[in-house]
Symmetry: C2
Subunit: 398 residues, 2 copies
């Protein structure tokens, strides 16, 4: 990974503010160590657990038409981001298709989901750390009822995989009672940091993506990118102090749209508290240059951009160049134009893109979000605001 944090950014950064943040490195590292929820930093998963995931995944892929993941938030966005990044745009995988449910309360979506799995060889992975997530409980109840119409309880047992806490919660109790295959989400890893746990890895593996190389990239990233992650965190906080309160995550490859969504949860939930935080948004360029480009160029000066570029891709010759080279030149031209229009850009370039570099990229951002939150003087690992709407919903739904 190549980080260009200066070409399109330099003139926007107040040096003094930046140096002040940068001087806090030691205390930020100390602070990070003081938190409990840091199981994602090292050894987030054991060799045995990885092997069990691969075994279960291989078995599922042998027969299932559909692998239905019931998960939301941190139990959805990580695996969805990785799977989309390595899936074709047009042709669907023949076997095994990974689909997601429990991601909304739309009766239309649920109805169509239930119809879709009706005659398919389906395996369900229900994921909830607490075991009590409303959307997941509702979807699981409905899916279970649907399966009951076709299968005996003994047959259903072979079609349900539970990923939840080791000991506690409704789902753990159910898994133990019924003898479902189950995986554990460690207590010291929060949802948005859990892609390297079974919550992310099982769906990723069933989608046919190599989780060994993914974890290799993930596990080697700490030493490799700790300095860059801290620089990035300092830049973000400096810009925020200068009233840039929105970060637009940009990719020039549509297959990274869900990676952007994952980034939005990671940063929005880690920093958006105590009436502060950078609001994360996302765009796919060049598509969205034709819609939001006008705002990025000359709207209110509240934005900065962080662009993820992939250097290697298909070669399609076009005139005296090739499309991929053109896309690359366009990305530089846009950053230049946006800088002139007073929107600064960070650029991260991946010379090569595969499951290993995906693991690195994810780790880089996890570390950046933790550093950023600490520099912003919030707890990057809690999400107290999420309880507010949940208790209002509970009150009104009875």
């Amino acid at each position: 990974m190549n980080f260009d944090f200066s070409t399109y950014m330099e003139s926007f950064i107040d040096r003094k503010t930046y140096e002040e943040f940068f001087s806090k490195k030691e205390s930020v590292l100390e602070k990070l160590k003081s938190y409990d929820m840091t199981g994602w930093i090292e050894n987030s998963i054991s060799k045995e657990e990885v092997n069990k995931i691969k075994e279960v995944s291989a078995k599922v892929r042998e027969h299932a038409d559909v692998f239905l993941v019931l998960g939301i938030g941190g139990s959805y966005l990580g695996s969805k981001a990785v799977i989309e990044a390595f899936s074709p745009y047009f042709k669907k995988m023949k076997k095994t298709e990974v689909i997601f449910g429990g991601i909304n309360m739309s009766s239309e979506y649920l109805k169509q989901l239930l119809d879709y799995i009706e005659d398919k060889d389906v395996v369900v992975n229900v994921i909830s750390k607490s075991g009590t997530t409303m959307e997941i409980s509702v979807a699981f109840d409905l899916v279970y009822k649907k399966l009951s119409e076709r299968f005996s309880e003994e047959e259903i047992k072979e079609r349900i995989i539970v990923t939840t806490d080791k000991e506690e919660g409704k789902l753990r109790k159910l898994a133990d009672l019924k003898g479902y295959t189950s995986f554990e989400i460690p207590r010291n890893i929060g949802g948005r940091f859990s892609v390297s746990t079974p919550a992310g890895l099982l769906p990723i593996s069933v989608a046919g993506i190599n989780i060994d190389t993914f974890l290799e990239g993930y596990n080697n990233a700490l030493l490799k990118y700790i300095d860059k992650a801290f620089v990035y965190a300092c830049i973000r906080n400096t810009l925020y102090k200068e009233n840039r309160c929105v970060e637009n995550f940009v990719s020039y490859e549509p297959k990274l749209s869900y990676f952007n969504e994952w980034l939005k949860q990671l940063f929005g939930e880690s920093e958006g508290k105590d009436n502060k935080g950078i609001l994360p948004t996302s765009t796919i360029y060049t598509r969205d240059l034709h819609s939001l480009g006008q705002y990025m160029q000359s709207g209110k000066e509240i934005l900065f951009e962080t662009v993820i570029r992939l250097e290697e891709s298909e070669i399609i010759n076009y005139q005296n160049s090739d499309i991929n080279k053109m896309n690359f030149i366009i990305s530089e031209s846009v950053a230049t134009a946006h800088r002139e229009g007073h929107t600064p850009s960070n650029i991260i370039t991946l010379s090569h893109f595969d499951s290993k570099t995906m693991g690195e990229l994810i780790y880089f951002f996890l570390l950046s979000a933790a550093f950023s939150g600490i520099l912003l003087e919030v707890n990057p690992f809690d999400q107290p605001g999420v309880e507010a709407y949940k208790s209002e919903v509970k009150k009104n739904l009875g």
Copy 2:
């Protein structure tokens, strides 16, 4: 359509500022009339043109596997938004599938697109008002080359439909020269206002959606919603004056995600200029409550939300209620919680959702965007900032 602009909003609106905006109604209407680019307000398309669209569309649907739309920005988001809103989540339409190209410069996307159409019965609709949009020129060249491998020039003629300016531009010349079927985008309608022209209506019609009822809704909306659109515009500008510089468009139905994207272009491009404007973002709830809900609840107080709800949907009984009712109660609970967390919400409820109400909804927002831009004292119909990156790209691509 039911508009609730007060329940979740009242305490945030400075009455004096609001009244000041509201008192400008007459002058705003005058100002609107003074612009040229207002062809979308009344009679955006003739009966003859609509009939021609329906004829061409029926012919396409008789044989084509794939209807490939090459369009970007205003020539993409409108039809995409409407088509997605009426497409199933899981089962693909058997015939005729509408897909989009020219929406990026990703060589991987283009490669897969070219492979996908390789053995299919394909009809191409190339849409560009100016006739010179880079992404469209590139995609059209590549697709044309691909078709040439299988078809004679005479056969290709039956597979290309051009939508562009009446007289000017490269595409118009090409269409006239080769005798391609062609449609016209009126000069006095800008891209983001063009969904009721052939740029939007032909793809929508090919997707099997009734454009007569769509236009019925669209054409009757002026009288029906002009007052509400102005109130909404005044609310937006009042909140903006109070430093709420981000509007989050929310839907509880995933099928409206591209409608949100369309809204982002409409408002972002109409208002994001002269270093001002409300930045539009979008979320699908409840999904994104599990990612960005934390920020909406207790992040920096820069946001307000505009929620689109659909009242009627599939009935799935669940415990003592049904899922759709639950989704509705959740939306009220969330608005209440967000209000308590200092994020105000506008709520628009559609009791019934079909192509006619979709036409109304689109018109309501077009009018709102025009009013809003005028109240903000910008020209809502230009997009000067878009030229900045285009000329930088041109310079660097040579």
